[in-house]
Symmetry: C2
Subunit: 231 residues, 2 copies
DNA sequence: CCAGAATGCGAGCGACCGCTCGTGTTTGTC
DNA sequence: GACAAACACGAGCGGTCGCTCGCATTCTGG
């Protein structure tokens, strides 16, 4: 691993906020190559992890030469970053504000079930996402993106919880939210490790675990009409 | 990374079960060096992970030369294996049969609490253990040890569950046990990420999550006297 | 005390990795 | 058709890594 060279043109600093783009015109062929390379990278990353994946392997998987790969990406990290950005974008497009709005009258089961369902679905359709987000070896920028997503989810959960539990201490709220995220991650891992009906069963099990974990906390809330049908 | 050479003397196979030891006599100094090297390896592994840890770094951390390291370990993997073996041994020594016996009259809270407490404690005192066991990049033999431990824990949990739930389907039992292990792992990660009182709070939260997850399943059991005090 | 084994050293080998560069091919524009 | 820019190639550069090897030093048994 050579140290990241970090050689950038000094740029005109200070008064021009768009700092690059020596007008790099892409042809249609180039755009196709980029997609091809990103797909290859997704395959290699999700099978071997980020650090173990070699750029030569990605190029080989895409059926091009190493030089061609570096025609479109300045370095290995940029590939992962671009891949992560596109996944993040696709997630927001697909599920829109699904991870944002919280309807306080929604029953707990429904809220948990919907959120779990959506995120598990996305991860099943894009296994790279899990490899990049929960991989232990990914470098700086990806980790930043991961942390950003993580803290977004965390504060969403915290918000949901505080709407259910307005009188809980912030520390308890944070802990509970972290625990929920941890359980979600564990369930995701189990779901990804299985397929078909078995996967569905694990998703259901994750929902059960989350609801049962949270239910006692919100139990004293004003009445949910049917509290008996749990399983 | 060079391909693992895998050059072993053919050995006399078949009728002699102790297959090696060209009588390698160790001096006291050597034993000390081995412990020194293993401690250095523990430090390096737990800070950088297995693959990212370089043997030269381990030797440097131990204050010896690379050659000296290879006087005592045939390769990098062997260091991790020896380290893992000693940890496993120490775990069994420390907690003895604590992970074995299941007293069916023990209340659920107590059983879960005791098991969680013990394992969390061990992991807090030996952070390497987590790095080696749940690290994503560790090679063959370590993964085998991990899988062995994992399936041991899994079958213990399955046994406990089946004693509580004699009429549940095997598939459900397996799933529930996997879910418990996943939740434990998530809680362990959270506990390791904090210290002192906050860590204790996460341990308690993990116990809560597990008990609440399992309680509805064993709820129809013959009476535990006080079923109301949950928190 | 001394032969030989165990221990210790560190330059360096071979393999692989991320990445570059000189060169050749394709594509768009006039 | 001419020219430049974008695209493609692949040998190979500089680097690190796991690990070796020849040689010096220290310990141990007879």
């Amino acid at each position: 691993m050579p140290d990241s060279p970090e050689k950038q043109a000094p740029e005109s600093q200070g008064q021009d906020e768009q700092q690059e783009q020596p007008p790099r015109r892409r042809q249609a062929r180039g755009e196709r190559r980029i997609i091809q390379l990103l797909e290859a990278a997704a395959t290699v990353f999700s099978t071997t992890g980020y650090t173990a994946a070699s750029t030569n392997a990605i190029a080989r998987e895409a059926g091009v030469s190493p030089g061609t790969l570096y025609q479109f990406f300045p370095n290995k990290e940029a590939i992962a970053i671009e891949l992560g950005d596109r996944l993040m974008h696709e997630m927001r497009d697909t599920y829109g504000e699904a991870l944002a709005p919280i309807d306080p009258v929604t029953p707990l089961e429904e809220a948990v079930g919907a959120a779990v369902e959506r995120f598990i679905d996305f991860n099943c359709q894009h296994p790279v996402f899990f490899a990049l987000m929960h991989g232990p070896d990914v470098p700086g920028r990806i980790t930043e993106a991961h942390d950003a997503l993580h803290s977004t989810l965390h504060s969403r959960i915290e918000g949901l919880l505080s709407s259910f539990l307005p009188d809980a201490s912030p520390a308890d709220l944070t802990r509970t939210a972290h625990m929920c995220l941890g359980m979600y991650k564990a369930g995701l891992e189990l779901a990804l490790a299985h397929e078909g009906a078995e996967r569905e069963a694990y998703v259901q099990e994750l929902k059960n675990a989350l609801v049962r974990y949270l239910d006692p906390l919100v139990g004293e809330r004003l009445g949910r009409p049917d509290a008996t049908t749990t399983a």
